[in-house]
Symmetry: D2
Subunit: 337 residues, 4 copies
C-alpha cells in the first residue's frame, strides 16, 4: 500500500466515493475500511509516478498519510547490493575508505600544486578544490573559475590523483565535466532541480552534498533526480545540518551513515570540515565517521589556514592532516572493526 487517506469524522458517502474515484483514475487499487469513528482508504500503486497533493484538497479528506518511500531507483529495496562508483582507478563503496583532500578554493597555481603534493604524500587518494565560489556576500572572493579548473587538471597530472570539484549552475556543467573526474553538487544546490537533471545527463560520478536543512528522504529524492535522468554514479556526502547549536558551524549527523546504508544502495562519504567548521573537531569526527561505516572522507587542507581566502577556521594544516592519516591507518590496520 502506498498511502492511506483518512476521511473526516463526518465525511459523506459522496465524498468517500469521490476520493476512491480519483485514486482509481490515478491507477491505484483501493482498500476501504469503515471504522466506527473514521473511514480509511488505502491505495496501492506506484506513488512515484503521480503527484498526489490534490488528495488533501478533496472535500471530506482529513489527512493523507504516505506509507512507502517516494524514491525508487535509489532505494535499497529496488537494488539490494551496494553501488560501487569508479573514479579512474579508485572505487568508492567497495568497503575501503577514500580520502578526498585539498583546500576549499583553488587560490593560485603554485599554492594548489604544492598542497596537492603534500596531501598525496600524507595518503590522500583524491583531490578537492573549488573553482567557483560565490558566497553569501556579493563582496567576497568568487573563485578563479576556468583558470581554477585548469590548475586542478594540472594537479591531477602531477599527482595522479583524480579531482573532485563543484559545479554551481547548469551553464557550467559541460565546462566542469571537461576538467573534473567527479562533479560535486553543493549543499545549497541540493534541490536545484535544473542542475540535478543536467548532471544526470553527464557520464561522470556526482558527489551530492546534503542540504543544510534536508531530511534523509529529501536528500535521497534529490539523488533520485540524478539517477532517473540517467546517471547512476551518485555518492552521498553528509556535511552537517543546521541546528540551534552555534558553537559548531553545522551539526554533523553521523547517524546518517548507517541510516542511508539501510535506505539506499549508494555510497556515503562525510565532510567533517564543513560539518563542524572548526579544525580541532575534524580529526575526532573523521575517525568516528569511519567507524560508523562511511566509504570516504572529504577533508579541507590548506598550507596556511590563516591566509585562506575561505574556510580557514575549518582547514587542517598539512601536518595536522598527516596526523589524522596516521591515526586513521592505525584504526584501519586490522581491517574495520
Amino acid at each position: 500500500m502506498n498511502m492511506v487517506v483518512v476521511m473526516e469524522k463526518n465525511a459523506s458517502n459522496e465524498e468517500i466515493e469521490q476520493v476512491q474515484a480519483r485514486l482509481r483514475q490515478a491507477g491505484f487499487k483501493i482498500h476501504l475500511s469503515r471504522g466506527v469513528e473514521r473511514t480509511i482508504i488505502g491505495a496501492i500503486g506506484d506513488r512515484s509516478q503521480v503527484d498526489l497533493g490534490f488528495l488533501e484538497a478533496l472535500p471530506g479528506v482529513e489527512k493523507v498519510v504516505p506509507v512507502m518511500k517516494p524514491f525508487k531507483l535509489t532505494s535499497r529495496e529496488f537494488k539490494s547490493d551496494d553501488t560501487v562508483v569508479t573514479v579512474r582507478d579508485r572505487k568508492i563503496g567497495d568497503g575501503g575508505v577514500q580520502i578526498i583532500a585539498g583546500p576549499c578554493a583553488v587560490e593560485s597555481r603554485e599554492k594548489y600544486l604544492e598542497v596537492a603534493m603534500l596531501v598525496k604524500e600524507a595518503g590522500a587518494t583524491m583531490l578537492r578544490g573549488g573553482a567557483f565560489k560565490p558566497r553569501t556576500s556579493p563582496y567576497s572572493f568568487q573563485g578563479l573559475e576556468e583558470e581554477g579548473l585548469k590548475i586542478l587538471a594540472e594537479a591531477r597530472e602531477l599527482t595522479g590523483l583524480p579531482v573532485v570539484t563543484e559545479v554551481m549552475d547548469q551553464r557550467s556543467v559541460e565546462l566542469v565535466a571537461r576538467y573534473a573526474d567527479v562533479l560535486q553538487i553543493g549543499a545549497r544546490n541540493m534541490q536545484n532541480f535544473f542542475l540535478l537533471r543536467e548532471v544526470g545527463q553527464v557520464d561522470k560520478p556526482v558527489v551530492l552534498k546534503r542540504g543544510p536543512s534536508a531530511t534523509l528522504e529529501e536528500w535521497i529524492m534529490a539523488a533520485e533526480y540524478i539517477v532517473s535522468s540517467g546517471n547512476p554514479q551518485v555518492i552521498m556526502c553528509e556535511r552537517g545540518i543546521r541546528t540551534f547549536e552555534n558553537y559548531t558551524r553545522n551539526t554533523l549527523d553521523l547517524s546518517a551513515i548507517p541510516a542511508l546504508k539501510r535506505l539506499t544502495h549508494l555510497p556515503v562519504i562525510v565532510d567533517p570540515s564543513h560539518g563542524t567548521g572548526k579544525w580541532r573537531l575534524v580529526e575526532p569526527m573523521a575517525l568516528a565517521a569511519v567507524v560508523a561505516g562511511c566509504d570516504g572522507l572529504m577533508i579541507e587542507v590548506h598550507q596556511n589556514p590563516a591566509e585562506a581566502l575561505s574556510d580557514g577556521p575549518q582547514s587542517l594544516t598539512p601536518q595536522n592532516f598527516a596526523h589524522l592519516m596516521t591515526r586513521l591507518d592505525k584504526l584501519l590496520q586490522n581491517g574495520r572493526v
Copy 2:
C-alpha cells in the same frame, strides 16, 4: 566599529600583533583594549568589502564578533526612505496593499484565463502563476514552460493586470523577462547566487522569497546580491520558514514584516498560501499580515483546488478569495489602523 576580535586568554603579544597587522592590511582602523582576562581588538572599516573569515583561523584568536550588519545598499541606514517599486501602473511600497492572486501553476489556457478574470473581479491587482514547476519528485508535473508564459501574457492583455512568475535558472531569465512584469525568485533559490546576479542585470522588479531556513540577515544579503548587481527593484516576500511544527506546511513569520521595515527600505509582501499550506488558515493570516504592515499579499486561487496539479490544499476557491477580499476591504476602509 565593524567587528570585535576576542583573543584567547593566553594569546601572546606576537599573536595580538599579527591580528592587528592583518586588519590594518585589510583597510581597518584598530582599537586595542587590554583587559585583565582578555585582549580585545576592535576594527573599524568597510566590512562589506572584505571577507574576514581568515581572522578566526589566526593563532590566538578565540572569537570574531561581527558588530555591524553585513549588508549595505539594502539597509535602512543607507537609505532611510521606503523604496517604492513600480509595476506598470501599480506601486508596491507606497502604503497601499497590492493583491497578487492566481493558481500555483498555469495548467491550461482556458482555466488560467478564467481564474484570472475571476480574481480580477474579486479585487486582485496583479496575477500570479507558475510556468516552470520542477519539484521534489522527478516524477511530478513540471510545468508548461514557454507555453505557460504565453498564457500569462494573454491573461495580462485580457485583464489589464500585471503578471508575476517565477524564474528558476539563469538560462531562462531572458525568456521569462520577455513575458513577465515581475520575476519571482523561489524560496529554494534564495541563495542561488548565479541566478541572483542574473536577475540583478534585468530591468524588471524581482520578488525575492525567503528561504525556508533563512534568517532575516541571510535573506537581506540575497537582496543585496541583486541590488549590488544593478537592480534596485526588489520586493521581499515572507512565505514561512521550516520549523518542527508539521500541522502547517511552514511557519509564517509575520514578525518579519515590522522587523524588515526597520532593517531595510525594501517593500515586504506575504504569501499566506505557502506560509500555512492549509486554505482554512489563509484568510486569518492574510488579514493579520495586513495589520502587521505588509505592502501586499500573494494568494493562491484555483477554480477547483481538488483538481489542481499542485498546491491544491492551500488554494482558495474564487468564492473564498472573494470572501477574503470583502473582509480585507472592511479592514482597510478607514485607512490602516
Copy 3:
C-alpha cells in the same frame, strides 16, 4: 482507525500474525490489507488508553503510522463548542479580547502597584507579574517569591483586576493558588508532567504556555494532562517558538491561533512580548494576533524598561501600552472584521 502498521516487504506470515495478536490483545479491531508490495494492518480502538511504542519493535514491522490525534478530552471532535474560562467576572473564550498586562517580574511593592494602576487606566482587564524567576544563569535575580505573591494580591484589591502568575514547581502550587486567580505554566515547564498533574488538581484556571520547540500536538497533549487530571479550565498561550532566526527572541506563530481553534475547543491567547523579544514589534504583532482570532493578549509593561530586572527589551512603557490599546480599540470598534 487509529493507526496503520506497515509490514516490511518480506515480513513472514508469523510476523504478520504476531502483530495482529498483540493489537487484539490491546483491545483493537483489525483490518488486514495484503498488497503486492506490502501488507498493511489497520487498527481501530482507543489509542489514547494504550502505549503502542512496542509495535515498532516487533519483528517484521517497518513503520507505525498514527492516524488519529492522540488527545481526546481537549479535542474539538470530543467537544465541539468553545470552552469559555471564567476568571472572577471576566470571560476568556467568549469572543472578546482579554488584555493581561504588567511587568515580567514583581520587583517591589511601590513599582508594582503603580504599574498596575497605569495598565488598568489604559484598558488592561487582568494583571500579570512573576514572583518566581529562576533563569538560565544561577547568578541572576530569582524573584521575590511569596512576598511577590502578596504584592500581586494587594494589586488585585487596589485595581479590581484578576491576577495571573507563574507556578514553577509542584511544591509551590498550593501557595501560588492561594494568592493568584490564574496559574501560569511557563514554556520550559510545558512537559513537566508532575507539575501538569498537580495544577490539574487545582480549581483555578491555568494558562499553558507553548514550549519553545513544541508542536501543536505536543502542546495539546500537555493540556490533555491537565484536563484529564480534573481541571478543564485551560487557556493556551502562544509565545513564540525557537527557530534559526535570531533577530527576534522567538518566532511568534500566529497561525497557531486558527490552527488550535480547529484542533481544540480551548481558548487561545498570545504573548507578543516573549514572542518577539523586541518592544517595537509588540504592537504590530498584538494587533495581528487579534485579527487572526485570539481570545486575549499578554503584554509586558514596565515603567522604565531600562531599569527592569528582567525582559526590559521587550517591555512596553505605559505610554506605548496606551498607544497599543488605542489602536486596538479602533480595530475592534465595529466588532471583529
Copy 4:
C-alpha cells in the same frame, strides 16, 4: 572584556553616558571607542554575577554582544584538568569507557534482575533503569516508582554494579538519592532550575542529559546551576537533539564530545539509544562515540524489546548488546587510537 555595547548610529552623548554610568554601577570597567559610524562601549568585569538584560532596553543601544562565556565553575578556563567522577569503585572521566546498560524502565523484579545479570556478563560496568516514567501521554505507563527503586538496589547487590536512575521532581530527590548511586536529570528537565538546585545539594554524582533543543552553552549553564549549588560531580550526557530529520528519533551530535572537552572539564558520556531511536543504529554510533572521545556509553537493553513498556524500538537484545561489547573490546584493545 565581557561584553561590547554597540550604540545606534545617532545615539546622543547623554545616551552614551547613561550606558557607561549603568555599567560602572554594575561593577564594570569601561573602554570607550568612538568610530566614524558607531560608538562602542566595552565592559570588563564579572558578567556571571549580574543580569545585564537591562542594557538592551537603554535608549540609544543597538545591540549587546556578549564576549565571554557566561559559565565559570564548569569552564575549562577555570579548571584546566579533567574532572573525574567516582561512582563507588568506578571512575568516569579518567580515560576509560564506562558502560551503563539496562532497560528504559524497570518493569518487574524478575525481568530487571535477569537483564542486569545479562548485561553484567556481557561487560556492562553500571546499571540503568527508570522508576519514574511520566510521558507525553497521560494514559501511558508511568513507572513503578519507589518499588522500582528497590528493585534497582537489589540488582546492585546481586551484580555489584552501581545504579543510575532518573529523578524527575524535587520532591523525590531525597527518595531517589537513598537508593541510587547516580542521579540522572532527563533531557526535558535540563532547564528545570528548581530541580537542578536540589540535586546540587546532594552528595551523589549527577548525569545531566542535554535538552532536545539545547545549545552547548545552555547545557553547560545547567551544569553550572548544579555545581554552583555545591555539587561538582556532574557528568554530561549527549542524547541527541531535535532536528528536521525524522528517520531518527533525534540527531545524535557526536561533535559535542570534542567540543565539550574544550569548553568544560566535566566528563562526557553518550546515549546512542535515545540519540537515534533505532536499535540498528545503536552499535555504529556507540563505537563512533568512543572513537570521538567519550568517557562512557548509556545503552538500552531489554530481553524482549517487542514486549518493552517503553522505548522498545531503540533497545538492544542482550545478544546484540554482547555483539556491541565484543566490537568495542576489539576497538579498545590496543588502547584508544
